[in-house]
Symmetry: C2
Subunit: 402 residues, 2 copies
């Protein structure tokens, strides 16, 4: 029986994790659940899985849950609650919080030696170098939970890292892929609605905009670098509009391994939960003949400069990816509020990254405090670049707790 | 140092095997070489690799080689020579003979507990059930050396067989793929030259015709069934004209793993030689963006009935694949000699298979003698079906030795 702790159990990945786990009660028990403010959803999850520990963001909500569940479930709140769930006795911690709030509890779980199913992108984007060191020190396994990195993880199965010559991330290309429809001049002033129209996946606003700028793929390059310990010059991107090949790994003998499937988040979740085995999943099967064709093209690095900014950040300093991520969060929020044009997202990111690299080219990430420091510095710089005076709320709520 | 014995060292796969091995002298030594009648090529190979044992088909050629190499290399001939090379002290036997001649020495190597890099299709096509039992008894590993089965082997890396739901072999579709150009009536009377024009691989006459009838893919379904111990109903075929995805494996969680690359036999050879590691290979790298698109369509089982004959044979009896293979060899030879039209190849195969299944539906393959018996029976039936009285020479020389 694999004991699961789920950080972010009421979010999309968290709920799908519980669905997958519930279909295999002989394999999985859910021992700890952490949610934010969706208290009623969490209460239903508690009644379904009866975890030993649960946590919510606010103490007043914890109070209500304690009254409801008595001594059957230990209820915590806030940052302490996240830590309690992260470090509760378990075999696998599913890190499915959204945003920077997940950083501290995920690191706590890593330090406790837990295996981590990692859906919380910001953990590797903001603190990849630090997390990599902590994982190596503690000896747990990082199991990626998103389609591209899960594909790479699966394509590395049974292989040695030293035989890898290239990771190739596939990229849908986003809503502005077609240069004939979206030449640079027009792209610069794309509207929020146009940018939110992602072709293949139904996602939140922040990540949809990131897909439109290709910053999302840039952030995935950063994640891949730290998840798999592969240098940035060995990480490539190819545009593949159908999102059927989820990513690929090239080996020194020129053989290329890939993972394919219809877009369905339950698959990478099931892969991570069951690793190193696989479990039955009632999901639509890929039929290549029905697909007809799969298309590929190089990414347009001129129209989508965010992609190269990610590689520059990786080469620049340990802290630079956190700088880029924070600047991008501010710029995307400003775009969504109509304060800056679409083209200014990349401009903002470049301006802030340049300023960081000019000042702090050797910046390392010794601890979480260092991450928060560059994050705050970068947000201030980005607000300035966007002409904003007050802090902008993050569109997906990825504020730090505590 | 991995000690290699190569059965069929002067053939295409044999020569490429030696090229790959020679590029990694720190990893591989060549300890035994078996050739047929290309004595001068073998002599050059002996001078390059100085194996301990070598073998040729004819005793008179062995005599010449003994005079040339003295006591430095033990030279054998005929069936005894093949056995000597197959069972010589080695870590891996590369079974790269063409045709039925490879069956006995490959089985000898398997019984001696050797790992086998298997390029010799007929071994699994004619005697798959027998070979499977012998491999399981002796405990060696079968490493496939052709692009499709190597792709499946690589896609199974690090996975459990019980998690597999489907093997998906890709198929170029052959020169008659386009139904608009090759409707059934026209296909029936396709000429030898038209049938020999394979789009992606430069191959011998027999295998080119098999690609044109899709019998080649049918034979690969048979090989896959016995190489990987997967039942025929879990083996699918998809037409993929570019031959970039070499084959795929679907798992119970709906995840599909695939191996891709430019068509290059050295890749599956390098994979088999280096397993479980990988070695550097100077080969052109796959560039998906340069490919532009990969196409897929279902195989046309009406115009290419040989594909379903293979599945019927697998379901019919242990011996039926050998029957189908022998009938097909006779029919293809008859077609190449202008004795029967293209369409009669499938007709012949069906007639002989039907006759076998009507008579000997429970036929098993207890030993090699049983294989030879059904092989001979089938050839006689096929000659009758083709209206031939004398035995037809096999186009690729796949006669039995001894």
């Amino acid at each position: 029986m694999k004991r699961l702790a789920v950080l972010g159990s009421t979010g999309s990945v968290g709920e799908q994790t519980l669905t997958v786990a519930a279909a295999h009660p002989e394999r999985f028990s859910v021992t700890a659940l952490a949610a934010g403010q969706q208290v009623e959803v969490l209460a239903e999850q508690i009644e379904r899985f009866w975890p030993e520990v649960a946590s919510v963001a606010r103490e007043e909500d914890a109070h209500v849950l304690r009254a409801r569940f008595g001594k059957k479930v230990a209820i915590y709140s806030g940052e302490e609650g996240l830590q309690a769930v992260a470090t509760h006795e378990s075999d696998l911690v599913v890190a499915a919080l959204v945003g920077a709030v997940g950083l501290a509890p995920t690191l706590a779980a890593i330090r406790a030696g837990r295996d981590i199913a990692l859906a919380n992108k910001e953990v590797m984007v903001m603190a990849g170098a630090l997390v990599r060191r902590e994982v190596e020190a503690a000896g747990g396994v990082l199991l990626p939970v998103d389609s591209e990195h899960s594909a790479i993880f699966q394509s590395l199965s049974g292989q040695r890292l030293q035989d890898v010559t290239r990771l190739i991330l596939t990229c849908s290309g986003g809503p502005f892929r077609d240069e004939a429809l979206w030449p640079s001049e027009r792209l610069r002033d794309a509207s929020v609605d146009q940018a939110l129209a992602h072709p293949n996946w139904d996602m939140g606003a922040k990540i949809s905009i990131d897909s439109a700028t290709l910053m999302n793929k840039g952030l995935e390059v950063i994640e891949a670098r730290w998840l798999f310990d592969v240098p940035p010059e060995q990480i490539d991107v190819v545009v593949h509009p159908q999102s059927i090949i989820h990513s690929l790994v090239e080996y020194r003998d020129s053989s290329v391994m890939a993972q394919l499937g219809l877009p369905d988040m339950r698959v990478p979740i099931a892969v991570a939960l069951a690793h190193p085995e696989r479990i039955e999943l009632e999901a639509p099967r890929l039929d290549l003949a029905a697909c007809g064709h799969l298309d590929f093209e190089p990414p347009d690095r001129e129209r989508f400069p965010c992609l190269d900014l990610a590689t520059r950040a990786l080469r620049g300093s340990e802290a630079a990816p956190a700088v880029l991520n924070a600047a991008n969060e501010v710029a995307v929020a400003a775009f969504l509020e109509g304060l800056i044009p679409f083209g200014a997202i990349a401009d903002t990111n470049r301006t802030v990254l340049d300023a960081h690299l000019a000042d702090q080219a050797g910046a390392t990430l010794a601890d979480l405090a260092a991450v928060w420091a560059v994050d705050e510095w970068s947000r201030a710089q980005a607000r300035q670049a966007c002409g904003i005076t007050a802090p902008t709320p993050n569109p997906d709520g990825s504020q730090r707790v505590g």
